[in-house]
């Protein structure tokens, strides 16, 4: 068990790409932490830098009380699950799981023991003598997880652990992963570019872009109050409404309406999540319904209020295209972004 402490870390690839750029991050002991961001933002590189598979070109990486910046991966007490699971095809499931013990020259009995214990914890009972090629995707993923846990490391690193599973299995594996992590209370960092996955699983999330952290917080904080427009755009299953507006005399004008707002006068971008808009007879925003997209229990309705505004409405309130509709934002859910793109 150990916390992770990253201070001023940069990782530069030999070709000059600065994939992690002067980054600070502290992951608490026992925390389930998500690194989230668009493709190529440096998530994998940061994870590999923690593991020691890439050498930090500046800064320090600490695990527990130890500065591991110069330690080889094998001495850092970290375990990692790769996106392709990296199961050894010529070994059985049991041999795969017990591989960390084999490397440490544990007895055959101890190896078998560990494999059996792990297989119980990870619903792999009865599969121990199969080869990875004879497992389903979910079973392979759990085998890789079992091997990582069997390594008895202080820190567990997962690179897109669920991305190779189909949508249904992914939900199952998600719940499973969360429960396992709770039981083991193992400091865990996982990488994902699926914001829903990060919101659902993590205790805290770091949203990354271009090698830096844009925002760090609990899923709730990140979802409700994105620190800048990049995060606002990235988080949420339906894109946030970002509407041009102006602040004058303690009010913000946008989309043909005004709301009370404090702050210095000037150009702003008004951010309102479609989920935080409600249909109300006295709503402040009004417009004609131009598109209705079915999301299952809810629908995403696009209103034409001069600019398009997305609203998520429950199924029993679903309007027809062409209807006039008035909507109101939930109190305290209107965000103002300044010209620098940061939350005001």
């Amino acid at each position: 068990m150990a916390a992770i402490d990253i201070a001023g870390v940069s990782t530069v690839y030999p070709n000059g790409v600065r994939a992690v750029d002067d980054l600070d991050l502290a992951v608490a002991d026992g925390e389930l932490f998500a690194l989230l961001g668009p493709s190529g933002c440096g998530k994998t590189t940061l994870l590999r830098t923690i593991a020691g598979l890439e050498q930090a070109s500046a800064g320090t990486v600490g695990i527990g009380a130890l500065d591991v910046t110069r330690l080889p991966p094998g001495d850092r007490r970290v375990a990692m699950v790769f996106q392709d699971y990296a199961l050894f095809p010529h070994m059985t499931v049991a041999e795969n799981i017990a591989y960390p013990l084999r490397v440490r020259r544990a007895s055959k009995a101890a190896q078998r023991d560990a494999a059996e214990r792990m297989s119980g914890d990870l619903s792999l009972t009865g599969l121990l003598d199969r080869r990875p090629g004879q497992l389903s995707g979910g079973q392979q993923q759990r085998t890789a997880l079992a091997r990582a846990v069997a390594a008895d490391a202080d820190v567990l690193l997962l690179d897109e652990p669920l991305s190779n599973l189909d949508a249904r299995l992914r939900l199952e594996a998600r719940t499973f992963l969360k429960r396992l992590q709770r039981e083991l209370a193992l400091t865990t960092v996982f990488v994902t570019h699926d914001q829903a996955e990060a919101l659902a699983l993590a205790d805290r999330i770091a949203v990354m872009d271009a090698g830096r952290i844009r925002q760090l917080g609990t899923p709730r904080e990140v979802f409700q109050r994105p620190a800048d427009m990049f995060v606002a755009n990235f988080i949420g299953s339906t894109p946030m409404n970002l509407l041009p507006g102006t602040v004058v005399d303690g009010q913000v004008e946008f989309a043909g309406t005004r709301l009370p707002a404090s702050g210095v006068p000037g150009e702003v971008t008004v951010g309102i999540r479609p989920e935080y808009l409600r249909i109300a007879p006295d709503g402040v925003l009004s417009g004609r319904v131009s598109i209705v997209e079915n999301l299952g229990v809810t629908s995403l309705v696009t209103l034409d209020c001069g600019v398009p505004v997305g609203v998520v409405v429950p199924e029993h309130e679903e309007p027809a295209v062409g209807d006039e509709l008035r909507v109101s934002p939930a109190p305290g859910r209107v965000l103002l972004y300044g010209e620098d793109g940061r939350l005001r």
């Binding site: 991966p73 094998g74 001495d75 996106q83 990296a86 591989y99 960390p100 490397v103 091997r147």
Partner: protein, 284 residues
């Protein structure tokens, strides 16, 4: 339908003729000569008689033949199966992570040994190993006549030097096919270099190892370059089978006898190949 078949036959016929003329016919011809008392000169050169298996029987009885078989086995095992294989793999493994310019330089040098023509390298090694003013002798400050005093050892070292390039290149490409995440998994659990090779690398490249070993074994067993270095001497001490065959056929003129030995070498090759194929298939 019959017309199609005619066309098909017409298309493969040239290939079949070539194989027949250059492979099947010489093999059968060797078999035929092997059962005659054909000589390079003298009366039997004009009128060879069929003598049945006499040549084969006397070969198996011939101390020089058994000596040659033994030397060939040492040569193949020492220089190919162990030498080229191990050195080629080690180079490929070590060069995997070094700077590209260093890798290319080493690869270039190793390849040079492979692409230079046999007589040229034989001459080079003559210069390196000769007693008076040989490069090696000068370097270590002795005037040993390496090719005379340690003929087999010299041949083994020479053939390792000459043939390692192939194994190195083959293993380099084989190693590139080992998934990096597998190697990194081993690194993360703290596996040593040897453990990584044993548990992760070798199982992935097993097929390559067998194929490589088969090829270099056959090439080495049939290699004639030793003749250019030691000519089988001194006193038959480095007379591997191809050299023995050559000397019997062209120095002693016993073409029938030499053909019989050729055929035995061919059978030996065949046995090696079958064993390897069996091993290779066991994997699947």
């Amino acid at each position: 339908m019959p017309e199609r078949r005619t066309w098909a036959v017409a298309f493969v016929a040239p290939a079949l003729v070539l194989i027949g003329v250059f492979l099947v016919f010489p093999a059968l011809w060797t078999l035929y000569i092997g059962i005659t008392d054909y000589q390079l000169t003298g009366p039997t050169a004009i009128n060879p008689r069929v003598v049945g298996v006499t040549n084969f029987v006397s070969a198996l009885d011939d101390a020089l033949f058994t000596n040659s078989v033994w030397l060939t086995a040492v040569f193949v095992l020492g220089s190919a199966v162990i030498g080229q294989n191990v050195l080629g793999f080690t180079l490929a493994w070590l060069l995997r992570r070094v700077r590209p310019w260093l890798r290319r330089t080493v690869e270039g040098f190793v390849l040079l040994a492979w692409i230079l023509p046999g007589p040229v390298v034989a001459y080079l090694w003559f210069a390196v190993l000769s007693r008076d003013g040989g490069t090696l002798g000068t370097l270590v400050g002795s005037n040993t006549a390496w090719l005379v005093e340690y003929p087999m050892a010299s041949l083994v070292v020479f053939n390792i030097w000459r043939g390692t390039a192939f194994s190195m290149l083959l293993y380099t490409s084989a190693l590139a096919a080992v998934p990096p995440s597998h190697l990194e998994t081993a690194r993360l659990v703290g596996a040593s270099g040897w453990q990584t090779v044993r548990d992760v690398v070798f199982p992935h490249i097993r097929g390559h190892v067998l194929t490589n070993t088969l090829l270099i074994s056959l090439w080495t067993a049939n290699d004639f370059t030793p003749f250019l270095l030691t000519a089988g001497g001194p006193n038959h001490e480095s007379e591997v089978l191809p050299v023995l065959i050559y000397r019997r056929a062209l120095e002693s003129g016993q073409l029938g006898y030499a053909s019989a030995i050729s055929l035995l070498l061919l059978i030996g090759n065949l046995v090696i190949a079958l064993v390897y194929l069996r091993l290779l298939r066991r994997r699947a």
